[in-house]
Symmetry: C2
Subunit: 258 residues, 2 copies
Amino acid sequence: MIQVFKIGGNVVDNPVMLSDFLKDFAAIPGPKVLVHGGGVMASQMQKALGMTPVMIQGRRVTDQEALKVVTMVYAGWCNKRITAMLQANGCNAIGLTGADGNVICARRRPPVDIDGEMVDYGFVGDVKPEGVNTAFLNSLLAQGIVPVLCAINHDSQGNLLNTNADTIASSVAIALGEGTRLIYCFEKDGVLADKDDDSSVIPHISKDEFTRLKAEGVIADGMIPKLQNAFKAIEAGIDSVVIKHARNILNETGTILK
Amino acid sequence: MIQVFKIGGNVVDNPVMLSDFLKDFAAIPGPKVLVHGGGVMASQMQKALGMTPVMIQGRRVTDQEALKVVTMVYAGWCNKRITAMLQANGCNAIGLTGADGNVICARRRPPVDIDGEMVDYGFVGDVKPEGVNTAFLNSLLAQGIVPVLCAINHDSQGNLLNTNADTIASSVAIALGEGTRLIYCFEKDGVLADKDDDSSVIPHISKDEFTRLKAEGVIADGMIPKLQNAFKAIEAGIDSVVIKHARNILNETGTILK
């Protein structure tokens, strides 16, 4: 079974949590892929360079200057530090953007209508499973090499594009196909029945239960697109999706979606 | 024959020269590797972030903050832009630091005595041919994938290290062994007999001629370590070293050292 792990900016930005996570990740046997975000650091770097980060509906408007910053931060500092730390833990990692080995080709997002206004996100791309180069990923996995993907991809026309790490993770899992497990790691123990009670993790959620929990308002806000994404991946044929705390990847905890 | 090309910061920093070079590089048949610098842009980024670049004998003193900047600039922006541009030219490039696939392991440089003063360069590494993972490089080349190496490597202990791109290029060429050609591309037509006359390119230089030209003062300054490095690579068994203008890689011009 191939396991695709995704960690968000909250893990990447926390040196202790990141170091602990990478130690555990290195210890997981079998073929695996890591996808990482790194959002907070990119905004900090934009501000340090006198730019003003512009976010619309949680996505960064990425002009040429912002693209330079996110590429430097995601593909440069975050991706290479993670790769070097994994190497130090005995895990033969390789840090990649989509341009590297043409591993992921994305499509630049056309301007979108948001509340009646056309928004051009700039150098922002959308990734689909068809854009994932599984031949190259499988060749790396067969050599025992662990791909570490950041949220920068390309359009095959020479442009780098800022893309969403959650979507990269689900697209890669779907492309790798049957028997692949997708594990979203974050700073909560799983999907909670009561968002203020960390011990209220729901161990299993089916598609029907998701519909019911959403209607009841138990699952709300940012968790909705995450779970929609997850069920789309399951419908596309992957084995399962697990949502769990980044500190628990060696334990059978969290919420399993199946 | 494997060809290892090296371009310096002067090419990387010049958008037109870089774009023309990459178009030509993409058109070169057979197995090839690209090694690139990117020095000027790193100093600009340090200054934009309120840091003061410190260079001693042409090498950057690299503390933790400077390491972050050079990693962002070399491994992030420069490396990924070059890789995406090569992909757009139909060349299946993969951008790598030494940490990626453990392709180059460097050794942190201990403090050195410079004019009676001990200088600690910080996170600066030295690369040797023994540190080059030829199995992985050959596996990429066999798949028709073109490695694009930047000047960031790792020490296998989790530290990224800033290293010299010329030395990376010669170490990779030596490690790839017999029949490898090393091509240093820069903004002059070759080694000049008269530094003020661009048409005075010396077409061939042997080791003995190098010794003589150095004694006569024809070869001076920064060209001396470049050529010393080149002859070291030839003595270690590679086919030849060529020094030429970045715009001439499709032509049989420049200075051949053999």
